[in-house]
């Protein structure tokens, strides 16, 4: 009996080791796939669960989205492969600081606080924020009306700050859909998020329980963000974005995902 127990144990251990060696293929393929390009791949952290910017296609399971397309176009312009590493929003910046990737491609809004710590590329999206309430809630008609209300936000998102500054009490959630769920369940009163993301949510989910009640007055710009030691890369990416803007590629990608050009004015 003893010998058999030991045998079972070692078989278990062996399976474990094999699994540890073989099972490590996540979507994060490290490096070493430079197909013809002289430089090493440009790596981006991205959520992979933020439709329509960065998510997995239902049918093919491929990582797709507006941000993914823009990042790939930038890579093509620079003659570098682009690789993505998927992470929760709240961990995206931690992963970048830990040098797990060069930058983030996930609709990162350009804010003064972030600019103090990181370096941004030129923006590739210009949009506004919107306040979402339950469909039957008529108490909110402007951002100022959310003062004293409870708002569901990802804590490190700039929308959390917008909500806090408007006087709302922020309830921490994982992302947009969780915020919508809390909203419908009556656990929070509002949520503030990117107009494009909310419009996509309303269109895709067919949700009639919530509505856009107000727009925030600030226009936000979203760009790729990099560690400060990748400032040179950020500059190259900005140059590439300017070329893609000029030749109409950005407008084309934008049309594909939103039916309108959200990539903002030329240059920058």
């Amino acid at each position: 009996m003893r010998r058999r127990t030991l045998g079972t144990l070692s078989a278990l251990a062996l399976t474990g080791l094999l699994a540890a060696c073989g099972g490590g293929d996540t979507s994060t393929s490290g490096s070493g796939s430079s197909s013809g390009s002289s430089q090493e791949a440009l790596t981006f952290g991205t959520e992979g669960t933020y439709a329509p910017f960065s998510y997995h296609d239902e049918k093919t399971n491929d990582l797709v989205g507006y941000d993914i397309d823009v990042a790939k176009a930038v890579g093509e312009q620079l003659g570098r492969d682009v690789e993505f590493s998927e992470n929760n929003w709240d961990s995206l910046f931690a992963g970048m600081e830990a040098k797990r990737y060069d930058g983030i491609a996930n609709q990162v809004s350009i804010t003064a606080e972030r600019e103090a710590k990181y370096v941004f590329s030129a923006p590739y999206t210009v949009s506004t924020g919107v306040v979402v309430t339950r469909a039957d809630d008529t108490s909110v008609t402007s951002l100022a009306d959310i003062a004293g209300k409870t708002s569901a936000q990802s804590t490190t998102s700039n929308w959390a700050q917008t909500a806090t500054e408007a006087g709302a009490k922020v309830e921490a959630v994982e992302g947009l859909t969780q915020a919508m769920t809390l909203l419908k369940q009556g656990r929070v009163d509002v949520t503030v998020n990117d107009q494009l993301a909310v419009l996509d949510y309303l269109k895709t989910s067919g949700d009639t329980g919530v509505k856009i009640a107000a727009e925030t007055d600030d226009r936000t710009e979203q760009g790729f963000v990099f560690r400060k030691d990748e400032a040179e890369t950020a500059q190259q990416v900005s140059d590439a974005l300017a070329k893609l803007k000029a030749d109409g590629t950005l407008a084309e990608i934008s049309q594909k995902w939103f039916g309108q050009d959200v990539s903002g004015p030329a240059a920058g």
């Binding site: 009996m1 003893r2 127990t5 144990l9 278990l12 251990a13 399976t15 474990g16 080791l17 699994a19 540890a20 073989g22 099972g23 490590g24 293929d25 996540t26 979507s27 994060t28 490290g30 992979g48 669960t49 933020y50 439709a51 329509p52 998510y55 997995h56 296609d57 239902e58 399971n61 590493s85 998927e86 992470n87 929760n88 961990s91 931690a94 992963g95 600081e97 830990a98 040098k99 797990r100 859909t177 969780q178 919508m180 769920t181 949510y201 895709t204 989910s205 949700d207």
Partner: protein, 222 residues
């Protein structure tokens, strides 16, 4: 649930199973196997008469039990690169979970070893067996019987704890569910399906526990 939701759930059965088979299960098996080795070593260290070894083992168990598993994962994944050790998500998760299991299970193993009457060790040493042989042939087989129920608990907890690995980019069952839910906004349906998958795995493990208990008890008259 309307038809389209049902269709989505049906279409998600296989992708979620992939997350289970390629993420959750290998992660569980590897972590549990390595964790058990750590547990045995740490338990023996705590039971040894060498004060330094005892101290190290006590400190380790104290840190593991005194900090959240999620924090341990984050430290290994995000803090170690500061010191030049950048591991991929899967090995990082295996290391974190193994250390965690090792800490908790060592207390189980220690208690199980202590449950074997001291007289048996003394008797074995008296007839000329050395310490390792005594452990292997007299003490551990008896301790194993005592340790099975609590270790099964540890294993079942581990299956569910591996869902935390989704927060460090490991594509396992929960992450797979999030990926499918994101573009469709069907979080409730997908998380429910994931819950059912976890539950099935744990049912299988409970069944296995009963079998192992019966087998180990077959020489013990009741």
């Amino acid at each position: 649930m309307d038809q389209s939701t049902l269709d989505l759930v049906r279409d998600s059965l296989v992708p979620l199973a992939t997350g289970l088979v390629r993420g959750t299960i290998p992660l569980t098996i590897a972590s549990f196997a390595i964790g058990m080795v750590i547990a045995l070593v740490v338990a023996l260290m705590r039971l040894s008469s060498v004060l330094v070894l005892q101290g190290i083992a006590r400190f380790y168990v104290s840190v593991i039990r005194g900090t959240p598993l999620l924090v341990q994962l984050f430290l290994i994944y995000y803090a170690l690169p500061e010191f030049g050790a950048t591991w991929d998500p899967f090995p990082s998760a295996v290391v974190a979970f193994s250390l965690n299991v090792g800490g908790y299970a060592s207390e189980v193993v220690r208690a199980a070893i202590l449950s074997v009457p001291r007289g048996q060790t003394e008797a074995a040493l008296t007839i000329g067996m050395n310490y390792p042989t005594t452990m292997r042939r007299i003490v551990l087989p008896q301790a194993a019987r005592v340790a099975v129920p609590p270790l099964s608990n540890t294993l079942i907890s581990l299956v569910k704890d591996t869902s935390l690995a989704s927060s460090i980019q490991v594509v396992e069952l929960l992450r797979k569910a999030s990926e499918i839910a994101a573009p469709t906004y069907e979080f409730f349906a997908l998380y429910s399906l994931a819950a059912v998958y976890y539950w099935i795995v744990c049912l299988v493990l409970s069944f296995g526990q009963t079998r192992v208990e019966t087998r180990l008890n077959r020489h013990v008259a009741r």
